[in-house]
Amino acid sequence: MKDASIVKLFCTESLQRIVQKAMAIQKNIGLMMENPIQRFLRDARLFKIPEGTSEIQHLVIARELGL
């Protein structure tokens, strides 16, 4: 349970961080709808929410640690 939460938390947060960097590097080209990176940004944003938000994953990890 703890491992699953860690993986979900880390991967979804990393995904967003990486996509945001990729978006920022492209500057105004990144804003263009014809550029797939804006879709990555919108899609990546979702993953921090379903199946337990990042905040819930923190709670689960803390609980599994015995806190």
């Binding site: 967003q16 978006m23 990144g30 263009m32």
Partner: protein
Amino acid sequence: MDFELSDEQKDVQKAAREFAEGEFDPDLALELDQKGKFPESIWKKAAQLGFIGIHYPEEFGGQGLGFFENLLVIEAFCRVDSGIGSALSSVDLGSEVILKFGSSEQKNQFLTPLTKGERRLGIAFAESEDSRDLTTISTIAERRMDGYSIHGKKSFVLNASLADSFITLCQEPREGWITLMIEREKDGIEVHPIEKIGWRMIPFGDLLFKEVPVPTGNRIGREGEGMAHVNHCYQAMGLKSAAQALGAAQGAFDRAMQYAKQREQFGKKLSQFQVIRHKLADMAVSIEVARWLTYKAAAEYDHKRIDPGFLSIAQLEVGRRLVAIVDESLQIFGGYGYIAEQAIEHYFRDAWAIGVELGTEEEQKDLIAEIMLGPFTSFSPPSVK
């Protein structure tokens, strides 16, 4: 040093806030955002009430207030809606150049109709994808009997399909950089629209000029001054974007606060979870930072003591805070924040457009470092044999 707004400034802020809350209908905002339409009727009303060009002298239709007051209006508008607020504050793009360098006739011709809600402006400076890279300008202004003939292509022009005139940076073969006001109704102008993720109420596009005639009277200032105009314009635009960012961040925060107080999860309000309380506290800190950086830069602009280093510091930090605040606000909404009916969804997309206008973190760091340390020379380590 006084950190209190004057009574007049508080009145401006209050009037702008009340106007926005009364007129910026959330359903209309959603519709305009999805269809990519400019908020025409709200713009006309805002102009009638004097919100457009509030900082122009009274003889040119303004209210004779400072640029600071203009930023208070922009902040209040973007707080209520990031899309409509940004669109209304972008109708006078480039007007700062006319205000500082233009003749009285030009101010009458271009600024007065702006304040009446009759005309809109656009800026056409950059030609590559990078809006700040002006080293590749090839738009040529050839001298003719009674003016110039313009030939070239401009990229990522704000208000491309909307503006009545474009303030355009060109090369005059002998004298160098010049800025000209090019009227939309002239023949030889082609617009290629660009669809984009945020700021959907403000049309972007590429502009193609083919032998467009421009009278000498439409030249701002003197020949060769173009780069000074562009620098001044970017300083004013940087400040406006900071105010847009501040307003959008505050608007996202307001919505997250309200939602956290009403939404229940596991039998208690979201606002009773420490993780949410700390998020909101962090966001409140960020907004204070963004506000005072923006206000200080704005006050310096009005006192004609612009410090480019400080402006970059403000733009960098405000942009960074905006993206983080909007992201955290959306997170507080959870899955509900991801659907279009919630305004926070377009705040998330608009934040990226405002962020681009503020310049990337790397660009601003380069500028700040250059002021502190002098020019940068790239270094590659010697190869080991």
